[in-house]
């Protein structure tokens, strides 16, 4: 019975993800697409919370919903006149997109079916914050300080590049 509840919640979230993902790529208006993407990211965060992984859920909300989507919306507001609609796709492009989507789906399904997953629910409820923090900032095996620093350098380069491109001459 308890499993039934979890299943019901999961299927609701999954349905939101599927429906909104399809709407994101089929809608003609760009801001609607961004909003649908926002719902996809919300539902993904919901799945993380359902798995008791609240840290990842909160990160998903801040980075994607609170950061990236706002950047998208901002750039749409600054660049697109309202009432602007996407042009109809050419058939060749539609076909290429479909093939790419099907190939991606095939790879995902293949991996999901062949990979053996660890138990999806953590045994002791939420993961303690200290464990996450130590894994992120440690230098030992299965710890992520080096990738973390590499990504910060990469992001810094991106920021500097963005400023160089955007500054007035």
């Amino acid at each position: 019975m308890n499993h039934l509840f979890h299943d019901v919640v999961f299927f609701i979230l999954a349905a939101v993800v599927v429906v909104c993902s399809i709407l994101t790529v089929t809608t003609k208006r760009i801001l609607r697409a961004a909003t649908c993407l926002l719902f996809v990211l919300f539902a993904t965060a919901g799945i993380y919370f359902q798995l008791d992984y609240s840290f990842l859920g909160a990160v998903q909300l801040t980075i994607y919903a609170g950061g990236i989507i706002i950047l998208f919306v901002f750039s749409i507001l600054l660049t697109t006149p309202s009432g602007d609609r996407a042009r109809k796709l050419k058939n060749s492009r539609m076909a290429a997109g479909l093939i790419a989507a099907l190939a991606g789906a095939a790879v995902c399904i293949f991996l999901t079916l062949t990979h053996t997953f660890a138990p999806s629910r953590l045994s002791g409820g939420e993961l303690p914050m200290k464990v996450v923090g130590n894994a992120l900032m440690g230098t030992g095996k299965y710890q992520y300080l080096l990738p973390f620093e590499a990504i910060t350098v990469l992001l810094l380069a991106c920021i500097v590049g963005g400023i160089v491109i955007a500054r007035k001459r």
Partner: protein
């Protein structure tokens, strides 16, 4: 001190006595939702009344005094008026986004409202990343404001929304960093644990200099985050009519209005929880009798009392300072508050590492 988990456990056992465990959980979820929403609405009404009265006293007026004793029922009457007003359909707008925007704003604010520890044992969401979750969900509200401005198809709304977005994104940095300073001091992000660890003294006293700096920065940034004066450029009435909610009518406008006041409450209660001890009574080390007297005041009174003080300070800002220009606003954040905040974070780390706190 009275522990509210007695009440919640009694409700839990009462429900479980006549229905299966899963149905009881479902019923509790619905009950909690109803309690949260009605608390949300009641607090917003109380705040609107308080704002009108305080504003009136600052301007040497009396304020609402006709409906009920001291005008106490004025905001209830306004609520009923708002509920039965017509929702006007506007031509040439993206209707889906236009109608969605107020709900995004209000959902973000209700989610953040659910995290707050109101009293001993009276808290709905208590993740071990509690304060981080609270920042995360409250940042969603910006999306709603941007959508509202864009979907209204109106230049004033769009300018208001852009200003609001720029302002909230900038000041979110300050809020996040000042909260991070206190998380460094507390050593945990769980809101209940943060409150528990202030039993020996509130953080603003124990953390002395860095905590006081973080408190001041948090208050300034929190006022800006809620789009209130002197940072109320997004809805500067003299230039933009009403900013991003110009085109909204009836209860859709009501949602923006409610969320604005509730966000002020959330900012104040987070300040209370992080700096002023949440629902913890004032304890002086060594004063046994004094501590025992303080323990007799219920925890919920402590929480709402401290929150009311912070809210009064925020309202005091609004009715005292003139409005900033947008360049002054952004300069204040990026040139002054952010560097100060980073230095303060470093100072707090030094204080914690060398155990210089009380």
């Amino acid at each position: 001190m009275f522990d509210f988990s007695v009440v919640t456990q009694w409700v839990d056992q009462f429900l479980r006595s006549f229905m299966p465990a899963e149905m009881a959980v479902l019923a509790e979820l619905i009950l909690i939702g109803l309690c949260l929403l009605s608390g949300y609405a009641l607090i917003a009404l109380a705040l609107i009344y308080a704002e009108r009265k305080i504003c009136a006293f600052f301007q040497c007026r009396i304020g609402p005094d006709r409906v009920g004793p001291f005008g106490l029922l004025q905001s209830f009457a306004d609520m009923i008026k708002m509920l039965i007003k017509e929702l006007i359909d506007i031509n040439h707008v993206d209707r889906f986004l236009f109608n969605l925007a107020p709900f995004v704003v209000i959902i973000a604010s209700v989610l953040a409202f659910g995290c707050i520890p109101f009293a001993k044992g009276l808290q709905v969401l208590d993740f071990n990343v509690g304060i981080f979750f609270l920042i995360a969900v409250s940042s969603i509200g910006i999306v709603g404001i941007l959508l509202a401005g864009w979907a209204s198809n109106n230049k004033y709304s769009l300018i208001g929304a852009m200003r609001s977005g720029a302002q909230m994104i900038s000041y979110e940095l300050s809020i996040g960093l000042s909260i991070l300073t206190m998380v460094v001091f507390a050593g945990t992000m769980q809101l209940s644990a943060i409150v528990e660890s202030q039993a020996g003294g509130w953080f603003i006293f124990r953390g002395h200099l860095p905590a006081v700096i973080a408190f001041v920065i948090y208050l300034v940034a929190g006022t800006a985050e809620t789009n209130r004066g002197p940072f109320d450029l997004p809805e500067a009435d003299s230039e933009l009519t009403a900013g991003y909610h110009t085109e909204y009518s009836g209860m859709h406008f009501g949602f923006f209005y409610l969320a604005e006041y509730l966000n002020m409450f959330i900012v104040a209660s987070v300040a209370t929880t992080l700096f002023l001890g949440g629902w913890m009574p004032l304890h002086m080390p060594g004063w046994e009798g004094f501590n025992r007297v303080m323990d007799h005041i219920p925890s919920i009174v402590w929480f709402f009392g401290k929150t009311a003080v912070v809210i009064f300070i925020i309202m005091w800002f609004k009715w005292t300072f003139p409005r900033l220009r947008i360049d002054q606003l952004l300069r204040l954040e990026w040139r002054y508050l952010l560097p100060l905040n980073l230095v303060n974070l470093l100072l707090m780390v030094v204080v914690v590492v060398f155990k210089l706190h009380f």
